[in-house]
Structure formats: structure tokens, C-alpha cells
């Protein structure tokens, strides 16, 4: 399998804070890779570097072999990296369909002249784009809600719309930032299946930040663990869970979990436990 995205020693600092410290990372085509780590570990900063929101201070980001360090966000989107956000960021006052069409923007070509004259090419492109947008609408199970204003959708629907918008950009690599945040177990289960479907039916590579270990266990081919901006572990979900470094990052020391009967299903809640016990 070929490598679709590779980072070599990327570092990003904000003033004195080292948000990413020499991170090496690789994802092969068709893989689902999970990124976990305690809060503030640099996971979202990593996504922001990949999508051009931040430029890394040093290191290289290679997408399909080309360096994308200095590219602007819209250029990266066009190359084929698309993402969702930790806090849903839809175009709230646009309709559901328009949101998806806005995602498809970078695959359309109509310019000022085409728009003003409404020539055949523009009309055909509009028609095709609408058809595609409807396909994506159905794909994420929002059929019949295309004319709703985005912000009037339920939370779960908004999450799915965000994914549809990202898919409409026709990416090769999809970045999902905590897609199950705020969902109940049954919704989480459905979304997990849905992420699998995205890989199977659309053939995308997926990189996801996730706190819910059940999701990570179920769908990741590989898990990368970040702590204080550095990659501290990498491997299959099972390997990572047993890695003492990971346990230390989450729980502070190893003894705590030795006499635990069940292994943490949700590491995130355990970090909360840790901080609670520290108080």
C-alpha cells in the first residue's frame, strides 16, 4: 500500500508552548487511523497543521509525496484533504443542500463569465453538482432535509451534515475531529458503522481523533498516541492500550489500574477521574 500522508518531524509552537514536538506520522491509502491523547495533547493542532490553518515551524508534511507545508487551506482542500470540526462548524444560515454544495465548491470551475452568461457548461455543472449533493445527502441519511436551514437540524444530523460537506469536496483523505463527541452509545455505534461505510464505499483514507476507546478499538487499523505534542506510542489498538507509556500519560502512574477489574472503555472519562483525584 502506498503512503498517502506522511509528516516528518513537524513542530509547532505557540510562544513558549510546544503544541507539536517532532511528530512523525504516516497513513497509507485506505487505512483508518485513530489519534488519541489526553486533552491538550496537540491532536487538533495536528489537524490544523495538516489542513493549512497553521504552518508548522519545522518539519515536512507530504501529501501524496508533495510538500504541502506552505499551501493555503483552500489549496490543500483542492488537493484532497477534507475535515470536520470538534465543535460543529456548519454554515448555519445556509440550507443543508447549500452546505454540501459549498463543500463541493473546490471541484467546480464556473467563473464570473460563466455565472453571468449562464452558458451550457455552467448549467451542466450546476445540475451535476446538485445531483452529487443529493447523493451525499442520501449517503449520510439526511434525505428530505435538503431545504432545511442547517442550524435547525438536530445535533446528530448536524454532525452527519458536516461529514457530508467534507465528503462533497471529494477528498482522498478525510480528517474527523471527534465525530462522536456528545453522542449517546447507540448514536456512537451507528456513526462507527458509518465511518466504516465511508471507507468501503468511497475508498477514502480516514484519520480520526476520538476519545471513545470502543470506537477506536472497533475501526482503527492503527492508533497514534500524542501527549504534550509528542508521539508517545503507535501500533494496533491492542498494542497501544497495553503500552505503559500510554497508561502513564492518561493515568499518571501504572499502579492505579492494576487491580481494576475492567479495562477503561473510555479513557477520556478516566482523565477526568485523574484530575478529580488530584484535587
Amino acid at each position: 500500500m502506498e503512503t498517502i500522508l506522511k509528516t516528518i518531524n513537524i513542530t509547532k509552537t505557540f510562544g513558549g508552548l510546544i503544541a507539536l514536538n517532532q511528530v512523525n506520522f504516516e497513513i497509507k491509502r485506505g487505512m483508518i487511523v485513530g489519534i488519541i491523547g489526553p486533552n491538550g495533547a496537540g491532536k487538533t493542532t495536528f489537524f490544523n497543521c495538516l489542513t493549512g490553518v497553521y504552518t508548522p515551524d519545522s518539519g515536512e508534511i507530504l501529501f501524496n509525496g508533495t510538500n504541502i507545508n506552505r499551501l493555503k487551506s483552500h489549496q490543500i482542500a483542492r488537493l484532497g484533504i477534507s475535515r470536520t470540526f470538534q465543535n460543529i462548524r456548519l454554515f448555519n444560515n445556509m440550507t443543508v443542500l447549500e452546505n454540501i454544495l459549498a463543500g463541493h465548491h473546490c471541484r467546480m470551475r464556473a467563473g464570473l463569465w460563466g455565472v453571468l452568461t449562464r452558458n451550457k457548461r455552467t448549467l451542466r455543472e450546476e445540475k451535476d453538482s446538485y445531483a452529487k449533493a443529493r447523493d451525499f445527502l442520501n449517503f449520510v441519511d439526511l434525505k428530505g432535509k435538503g431545504d432545511r436551514i442547517a442550524k435547525t437540524l438536530s445535533y446528530g444530523d448536524q454532525r452527519r451534515l458536516e461529514i457530508a460537506r467534507a465528503l462533497a469536496a471529494e477528498p482522498q483523505l478525510l480528517l474527523l475531529d471527534e465525530p462522536t463527541a456528545g453522542m449517546n452509545p447507540s448514536e456512537t455505534g451507528k456513526l462507527t458503522q458509518f465511518v466504516k461505510r465511508i471507507r468501503e464505499e468511497l475508498g477514502l483514507s480516514i484519520l480520526l481523533i476520538e476519545h471513545d476507546m470502543r470506537v477506536i478499538m472497533e475501526i482503527s487499523d492503527k492508533v497514534t498516541v500524542l501527549d504534550y505534542g509528542a508521539r508517545i506510542s503507535e501500533g494496533t489498538p491492542l498494542q497501544v492500550q497495553k503500552d505503559p507509556k500510554v497508561i502513564e500519560a492518561y493515568l499518571g502512574c501504572q499502579e492505579i489500574i492494576i487491580n481494576k477489574s475492567n479495562y477503561p472503555a473510555n479513557i477520556h472519562s478516566n482523565t477526568d477521574l485523574k484530575s478529580a483525584s488530584l484535587k
Binding site: 490553518v53 493555503k72 444560515n93 455565472v115
Partner: protein, 319 residues
Amino acid sequence: MIRIEQIFRLTPPKKKILVLFLLVLPFMVGNYWSQILGDIGIYIILGIGLNVVVGFAGLLDLGYVAFFAIGAYGYALLASPQFGIHIPFWLMLPVCIAFGAGFGAFLGTPVLRMRGDYLAIVTLGFGQIMRITLNNLDPLTNGPRGLLRIDPPKIGDWIIDTPIEWYYLIMAGIFFAIFVANRLNDSRIGRAWIAMREDQDTAEIMGINVLKYKLMAFSIGASFAGLGGAIFASRQGSIFPDNFSLMVSINVLCLIIIGGLGSIPGIILGSIILIGLPEALRGVQQYRMLLFGGLLVIMMIFRPTGFIPSARKKIEFKK
């Protein structure tokens, strides 16, 4: 001409009546009110243009008058005895539109990296700079003495100079502006603008070249002002720097907001209220501004989204 027949057949009766009404209107109201309808009309063109910038793309531009001035002075300098150049009106229209667009792009390039309030302040400054420049660039603009005897439009030997003739010309300008604005709104470009207005950073990450589309909105908005300016200069016959004061920018912005941001019927109604009402209230001269101010306050309390909000805004408020 099968096409014209087709268009006629496909037009809904309501629209036919509206067009007929607009055609006979100046004869019903006479010269004085035709003149005022013309004033209103120029503001409608400016409103539609500024709406592209403020309503669609969400860029608060308080110096819109600068582009209006560019159109007006551009026309006046090339079609008056000032330099003895007399380029025909019809040729100057596209030239003035291009002046507006070009100047918009020129101004926008450094300015559009700013956001929100900062953009508003910088554009406000540019609007003022334009007026002051016109006032002081004596050899070119004649300073406060203005440019006089500007050429009116001619069709053959027929000179367009009565308020009623002007009414029809301005009406054609409005239809052109509406046509362009509608096509833009309902397109890839329009969607990019609205996405940008909603959330600039997300739009960029989703693959919209924000800087390019901002510049495009600014420039297209300015081109409408260029058109309005050419019509204004030619209709007035003489222009002075004071015609292009801050109040013009404020008025245009007000009429968009009163009518309903983003909606073209709203802009038309807004212009009628903002430009027409002060005329209608002439009878109660000394209370005019008081009544007018009161009306604005009442409106903002009861109709905060404007009189005719855009379809999108309407749905928003229903839910």
C-alpha cells in the same frame, strides 16, 4: 423574434402588470416626482451593488461612495468640456463600470486582509480620502468648483434630458443590476460568498479561496457604483466633491438594512422609504428629520431584519 414572444408568454401576469405599471408611472406622477423616482433609482442601483459586498459577502464597506465618485468623475472627465473630450455616454457606461471594478480591486487588495470593524474603519477612511482628493486635485477635477456641462446621453439626435426620459434609462440600469445580482446570488460564486459570510475560516478550509472571493465581491460591488456614478454625473450635468460625502455611503447602507439585508425587493423598498420619504415629508419641513428618525427607530424595534428580509432570513426567523 420568437424569443421575445416566448418571454412574454412565460412571464407571470403579476409581473406583466408590474412592468406595465412601471412604464406608465412617470406619466401618472409628472415631472417633479419622476425626478425623485430617478434619485430613488440611482440609490437602488447603489444599494444592489453594496448588497453584493455587505449582504452576500458580509464585508462592511463604509466607503462605498468612493466608487460612486470614481464612476461619476470618470464619466465627467471624459465627457465634458473640462479636457474637451466627448466620449459618448453609451461607450462610457462599460468604461465606468470597469473603472469601478478596477478601483475596487485596487483598493481591496491591501484592505481585505482585515475583518469586520477594522475593514469598516479603513473603508470609511478611503471614502473620505476620495472626497478630499477630489476637492484638492484642482488641475484634474476643478476642486470645489466641480465639473460643469457634462454631456447628456444621446440616441442619434435625441438628447435624454427630461426627468421622464431619465426615469426610463435609470429603470433599465436597475433591471440590469438586478439581473446581474440574481445570477451571482444563485451560483457557485454566490454560495461561496455566503459561506464566507457565515464562517470565513471554515469556508477557507472547505476549499473556498476566501481572499479571491472577497476581492471579487468588493470589485463587483464597486462596478455597480461605477455605473450609478456615470448615470448620476450625466443626469446632474455638473458634479462637485460634496456630492460624494460620507452621507451617501451611510444612506446606501441604511437602505439595505431597512429593506432587509440580502433581498432585492427590500433594497427597492428601502430606497423608496429612505430617499422618497424625506421628499414626501417636505410639507412638514421642520419635523422632517424627527419623523424620519422616529420611523427608523420604530422599524428597528418591530422589524429588525428589515421590511422584506431575504428568503433565507425569513426561513430562519420562522423556525
